[in-house]
Amino acid sequence: MDIRSPLPGVFYRRPAPELDPFVGVGSPVGPDTTVAIVEVMKQFFEVKAGTTGTIAGVAVADAEMVDAGQVLFTVRPG
């Protein structure tokens, strides 16, 4: 399973620069778990996992631009 960005913008793994990432490899997630923020037009959009499982990989580096539909995380189901 993949978690994709619903919109284009800048991908942030943390809620604030001094805080820990929302999730990392091994983190359990549920459908409503916030896994990242994507910023566009000065708005910060929370990306939800949308699935249940464990984060298996992080596909994009922090603060990189992403396109809509781009894979952000891979998830091991279960």
Partner: protein, 322 residues
Amino acid sequence: MAVSVLNPGLSTTVQDAGRPGYYNVGIPPSGSLDQYSSLAANLLVGNGEDAAVLECTYMGPELRFERPATVAVTGADLPPRLGGEPRPTWESFGVEAGDVLSFDFLRSGARAYLAVSGGFDVPVMLGSRSTYALGALGGVEGRALAAGDELPVGDADGAAPGRSVPEALRSTHPKHREIRVMMGLYDHRLTGEGRRAFLDAEWRLTTLADRTGFRYRGAALEFRERVAPFGAGSDPSNIVDAPYPIGSIQIPGGVEPIVLHRDAVSGGGYVMVATVISADMDDVAQSAPNSTTRFVEVDLDGALGARRRRAARLDALREAVG
């Protein structure tokens, strides 16, 4: 009330053909940024050309229809779903009372247009239903849609579903674009090197791209030495305040050019090195962050020729769909 907003998307606004005639007092034309796609959506559902549509930026809303209607989605490739089932773009389809319309992720472009038969019937302000959010004017209470909004829809004669825009008349949205500009009025402030850099650079659209302006990154432009005239700021990119045409490209500090679009501010003190020709403003509207653009210089004849070809394409659209 005919359409309920379950989820507004990122920034969804009511727009129409615009509110021309008040820019001299600071109220911009507003209206759909991609006028071609907006017109196509109205034609597909049998609306007049001045009917209001929804402009959906990067993400689609989730809407529930409270009565039957014909709808169409054009512009960006933002795939619609009705009750979870895929529906086409650039083609009208029917909805029944209680149906929920949602959207998949954006595939290309930036702004999708959703028309409903009868048009979104918000109050007309200064001759237009368009939302100008900076001025809290038009649309739904002068703002983007919010969850819980109830959108009124006008009475429709009702075009039957199934109208379609021929393939050749559908917009496509490449990741790289060439946008035509006329140089000026202030390109004399650039050095020869600065001017070349402006036209040679591959400009990448930043996330600061909204209805007011589109900000790009990609090169630093060199200005000529000068003594700042009275009334101008000290930075070489400052001028004595001047009116800003829609499409003008200002470049604060010589970096990050900004193309002003239909919600622009009407004047200010930044040098405008070039202006996007009117025929290419729809393409600017469909540029998404991280896509790239090269600005290509044309002369006045080139710009007017492009305007005529765009008018012919609009007529071809009316002929094929209307």
